[in-house]
């Protein structure tokens, strides 16, 4: 049903002024706090309470999803949606007209209207009339029009773009292909007329409008010189991918990106990084979902290489830009491979690293492609963190930087007052339907409310507190960890709000309980500048190829063009907003040096980057960001354009030295990388070479030494190479504590074992810097001697020649699988992964020793994964009663879903009862490993979630391996295994795990028993090693 109910306008939207329409106090809440105290003429956005066209479209899409299950064809849905949207557009227009009449009646001068992304009217009005405007029926909010030109002017000059533009380079002659959701070529920043009418003529204003598929004489333009729509209007929600010649944007992502790269308004007040560059709008991303079509992407790369489709690439774009990808990037990705080929053809390719946050190995494809430039996000220059200042009592007075703001309730001018702890603060009906309001423990009237997180949406808590008189709100976390932000979940009464850590919340409560008065300030004046630091959401490397990715950072959140608004602008963040800064910078360099190759342009950008980038000045003052977050540093294109030479590693196609992950079992591990230096000048140059560590404690440890010559000489227009070596002393490395379970998403934990820094070449005032990085794992080198058999078993001797204690776990070996032939394994671009099982083992941890019965399954594979999350899932199907039908399945997956947490966990699902699977333990799996161990509650002794196996009862099981990244396909299996807990054929006397100290051996007593084949498929023992060089697992054949 997409009928009247879905499109009905809110009641009361008559447009007449009526002072009785709203209860007292409502108008103040509708007026943005930034307008409080305003005098004289002000420019404001009057937001109307009906959804924007885009929001309405989303609603209809959702509704259509329900209808699809009712057998309505996609064609019918599409038609119905278009009709509904068209009707709704008329209603929005009518409502805006009514509100506009009321605005005019209070002397407001209309500046413009928007309907697509926002439903609002911009007016200039005397501030004394704001309360009257807020009373107009249908008005939801009155917000200031931000002087975006001022904000825009932050980022381009900050990275050196304005200086380069002032020197006469603006990207003229360079073409950038933007593979995204299309481009609104009618926007004033992109050479369009800059009117709503122009957009309506080009698109029609609703997805599926026929105008959005035809050129109508409006495209191409002088700015957006070509393009194509390879995805169409319907995919994936309403129908199949389709193609049409009109790449007009509806969703908005691509328009932001294009503006940051090459925007330029006719009046010259707005300029992107390369305002003289031309654009190709190649539409590959959906207008109705966040997906970008895989077929469309491959066609788009072809189009970028040959826009006129004549088979000759002489009209190829100079730069291909992609603010899209997939976290945990894998080299088998076909788009990554295609873009590598594009780089080989001389195209500069720039891609966002992703917004996967500070999780090891989360950096996405296609940015992991060696030749692709992978871009991280840094903070805009004006960004600040707002701490909580406790003014009194003295015992806890101070400035606390581990806070977070919430977008929907900004700090604004701030607030100072005494704190009142009101409890959980959930209003009636917010916890569950009909739930009572939480009691207000202490009145917050005129105070700053402290509220515990939990139970209901945080925005409803704030609303509840403000309704009870609070002038500010502190949301106290109830579990340890950094302060985090929260999304909007309802409510309309807000006051300056900060989220604080549990520890600080507890400290405040303790003083309140002691009858102290706690006075605090939430104030932007005490803000901590974040300029030159990381955005917390920017994805971390290294890549799955063990390379330094991302490679360069740039500020995100540049204010840029909003689709369908004519001339509207707003901040656009994430690495999607950062990467266009780099594409624009590359365009400036290509104008200056049109014959330079992708690796030369990339090296210019990386060699000149500002290396002084910090993690978070509010949380970690002075703490530099690790190389695997920022790569070479933050973009400085004014420095790049002036370089006389560049330095890079030709093997990895990057101006970075990626030594990767290495198991260091002894003190003489040596890794070598080549640096190539190219001199563009007409005179010979000599560069001194400095080696530095990012962190003083890494240098002081003596575990890693960087070896390089003291200088390098390069002749005029010449090239020369030198080597940089790392000498790793395994014994001095810290003990490896990383894992892919509990710490699988913990980037901070990666800081310890990583070693990184810069190689800096200096000649006069010119500096060329290359980041270096290695992830050494202090390792044992344990091997088992041949099994020595005795009457009732025998023994194993484990010899550890390494520098780390050798940890081992012993399992009954129940199955093996042959190695899959090399010619069946995927290569780069093949779009599938093979998970190749090697050995499977199992053991019983008895209740008598471990308090409850547990089973542990050991799975080793040929080949390693950098992270246990991807691309492998293992399913253990357990036939608890051995009747031939599986009863449970145990499997691993990422906690919370794809790229949600980085943590790998073990789930159990009951195949008999069905229903949801339940997580039972974190997966025992390391980074850079081919081993996983699943711990599983065996029976009720270990809790209600178990696999129903009794000691002494034979169960059957099979292990299946899946590619869980590309195809979902099963890639290998070991089936029909049997094991009897408490009656193993082979085992060890005592604990089935232990350690071998470095440079020594341990003897492991092996037991054996006569168990019929009907009860066991054991053929020996499976040794699983941790942090062990060379061998990760070892099979000991006993039978």
């Amino acid at each position: 049903m997409m009928g009247a109910a879905a499109t009905a306008m809110p009641s009361g939207a008559s447009g007449k002024l009526t002072a009785q329409a709203a209860p007292a106090g409502t108008t103040v809440e509708r007026i943005d706090r930034r307008l409080q105290g305003a005098k004289g003429p002000v420019d404001v956005w009057v937001t109307i309470d009906a959804p924007s066209m885009a929001a309405q479209q989303a609603k209809l899409a959702s509704a259509a999803g329900i209808e699809k299950s009712n057998k309505l064809s996609s064609g019918e849905s599409k038609t119905a949606m278009a009709q509904s949207l068209e009707k709704y557009r008329g209603e929005v227009g009518a409502q805006q007209s009514k509100v506009a009449v009321s605005l005019a009646s209070v002397g407001a001068e209309e500046l413009g209207r928007v309907q697509v992304a926002h439903n609002a009217i911009a007016v200039r009005v005397d501030a004394s009339q704001l309360e009257q405007i807020a009373l107009i029926p249908g008005v939801a909010k009155v917000r200031p029009v931000i002087n975006y030109e001022m904000t825009l002017s932050e980022t381009v000059p900050y990275v050196g773009g304005a200086a380069v533009q002032a020197s006469g380079k603006d990207g003229t002659g360079v073409t950038v292909a933007v593979l995204d959701s299309g481009i609104d070529y009618t926007h004033r920043n992109l050479g369009g007329a800059g009117t709503l009418a122009a957009y309506a003529a080009a698109h029609g204003g609703a997805a599926g409008d026929p105008l959005s598929t035809t050129l109508d004489g409006l495209f191409p333009t002088a700015k957006v010189i070509g393009g194509y729509d390879f995805v169409g209007e319907a995919w994936p929600t309403f129908g199949d991918r389709s193609e049409d010649p009109d790449p007009i944007d509806f969703q908005g992502h691509g328009t932001h990106v294009a503006d940051i790269i090459a925007g330029k308004s006719a009046d010259g007040t707005h300029v992107g990084m390369a305002p003289g560059a031309k654009l190709l709008a190649i539409r590959v991303c959906s207008a109705v979902a966040t997906s970008c079509n895989g077929v469309a992407l491959l066609k788009a790369v072809d189009f970028a290489l040959d826009p006129n489709q004549d088979g000759n690439f002489n009209d190829a774009a100079d730069i291909i830009h992609l603010s899209l990808g997939s976290d945990y990037g894998q080299i088998q990705d076909d788009l990554t491979e295609a873009l590598e080929d594009a780089v080989d053809l001389g195209i500069v390719v720039v891609a966002s690293a992703g917004n996967g946050s500070n999780k090891p190995y989360v950096v996405g494809s296609p940015s992991i492609g060696p030749g692709v430039i992978s871009v991280a996000q840094t903070q805009v220059p004006s960004a600040i963190a707002i701490p909580l200042v406790i003014n009194s009592p003295a015992s806890i007075a101070g400035t606390y930087g581990n806070t977070s703001t919430v977008e929907w309730s900004p700090v604004g001018a701030g607030a100072t007052g005494n704190v009142a702890f009101i409890g959980r603060g959930c209003p009636a009906g917010s916890v569950a339907a009909g739930s009572p309001a939480d009691p207000i423990l202490n009145s917050p009237a005129g105070k700053i409310a402290l509220i515990d997180r939990g139970g209901c949406s945080v925005s409803l808590k704030v609303d509840y507190a403000v309704d009870n008189g609070a002038i500010g709100v502190l949301i106290g976390l109830v579990a340890p960890g950094d302060a985090v932000s929260f999304s909007y979940g309802g409510g309309d009464s807000f006051a300056p709000t900060l989220v604080i850590q549990q520890s600080l919340s507890s400290a405040i409560k303790a003083r309140l309980n002691a009858a102290d008065t706690v006075n605090v300030s939430i104030s932007p004046t005490s803000g901590i500048p974040l300029v030159g630091s990381m955005a917390s959401t920017s994805s971390r490397g290294p890549s799955s190829l063990q390379t330094i990715k991302p490679e360069i950072g740039a500020p995100g959140a540049s204010v840029s063009a909003v689709v369908g608004t004519g001339d509207g602008e707003e901040a656009f963040g994430g690495t999607s907003g950062a990467a266009p800064m780099v594409s624009g910078a590359a365009a400036l360099l290509l104008q200056a040096f049109p014959s330079r190759t992708p690796i030369q342009i990339k090296s210019m950008l990386m060699n000149s980057a500002n290396t002084q980038v910090f993690t978070n000045p509010a949380l970690l003052p002075g703490g530099l960001a690790p190389i695997t977050r920022i790569g070479a540093g933050e973009l400085r294109v004014d420095k790049a354009i002036g370089l006389n030479a560049i330095a890079w590693n030709p093997d990895d196609e990057s101006a970075a030295l990626s030594f990767g992950q290495v198991d260091a079992a002894f003190d003489g591990v040596v890794l070598v990388k080549k640096v190539r230096v190219q001199n563009f000048s007409n005179s010979s140059r000599t560069y001194s070479i400095a080696r530095s560590f990012r962190y003083a404690d890494d240098a002081a440890s003596g575990a890693v030494s960087v070896i390089a010559p003291g200088s390098v000489h390069v002749g005029p227009k010449g090239k020369t190479d030198f080597l940089v070596s790392l000498l790793i002393k395994g014994s001095k490395l810290p003990t490896w504590t990383l894992n892919g379970g509990t710490l699988g998403g913990n980037g901070a934990a990666l800081n310890g074992p990583e070693y990184d820094g810069y190689i800096t070449l200096t000649s006069g005032s010119e500096k060329l810097s290359l980041p270096w990085h290695v992830l050494p794992r202090k390792a044992s080198a344990t091997v088992a001697s041949p099994f020595v058999k005795t009457k009732n078993g025998g023994s194993l001797k484990l010899l550890n020649l390494g520098v780390e204690t050798g940890d081992y776990d012993v399992f009954s070996l129940t199955g093996q699988s042959p190695r899959i032939p090399r010619d069946e394994l995927p290569g780069a671009g093949d779009n599938f992964a093979i998970v190749d099982l090697q050995s499977v083992g199992v053991r019983h941890l008895p209740a008598a020793v471990f308090g409850a019965d547990y089973l542990e399954f050991a799975i080793s594979t040929f080949g390693q994964r950098v992270h246990p999350n991807y691309p492998a899932e293992f399913d253990v199907y357990i036939d608890s009663n051995n009747d031939g039908t599986p009863d449970y399945v145990v499997f691993n997956t990422e906690n919370g879903g794809f790229s949600a947490s980085g943590q790998n966990v073990v789930f159990i699902a009951n195949l008999t009862t069905g229903g949801a699977a339940t997580a039972v333990f974190f997966t025992d799996a390391d980074l850079d490993s081919g081993n996983v161990i699943f711990t599983v509650p065996m029976n009720a002794s270990a809790g209600g979630i178990n696999v129903g196996v009794a000691p002494g009862t034979t169960f059957g099981f099979s292990v299946f391996a899946f590619d869980n990244y590309f195809t979902g396909a099963q890639t290998d299996a070991v089936e029909n295994m049997l094991f009897t807990p408490g009656n193993a054929r082979f085992g060890v006397a005592g604990d089935p795990f232990g350690t071998v100290t470095p440079r020594s051996f341990a003897t492991v007593p092996v037991t054996s028993a006569t168990v019929p084949d009907a009860k066991s498929t054991e053929t020996g023992l499976l040794l699983m090693y941790r942090r062990n060089a060379v061998l990760e697992s070892e099979v000991i054949r006993v039978k």
Binding site: D341, N831, T967
Partner: protein, 115 residues
Amino acid sequence: MYAGLIASVVLAAAQVSPGSPQTVEVLVVLSEPALASLPRDATADQRAKLQQRIQRQQDDIMTRLAALGAVESARVQGLRNAIAVKLPPAAIDSAKKIKGVIGVHTISHRNRVDD
């Protein structure tokens, strides 16, 4: 793959097409070299000849794929010589055996990197 039943883990893969649950979309990679294999200074005649060979091979193989129930959805020839088709999963093995087919790959979709 059990996790796929409880969480969205697989990025895209050979997705069943809306409205036609019996088919999957795959990329059929062909043996003739793509246009990008030509040297930069290749003549127009060389380019035209390779384009003709690619076109001919794509036409021939598409005919064979159609006989397996495949429906063409796209062709590329710049960086890859390949045809995207929707076909019954059971036909994939047969498609791999067609002379001139060097690979049948799943289609991976990506996501915008939203803020």
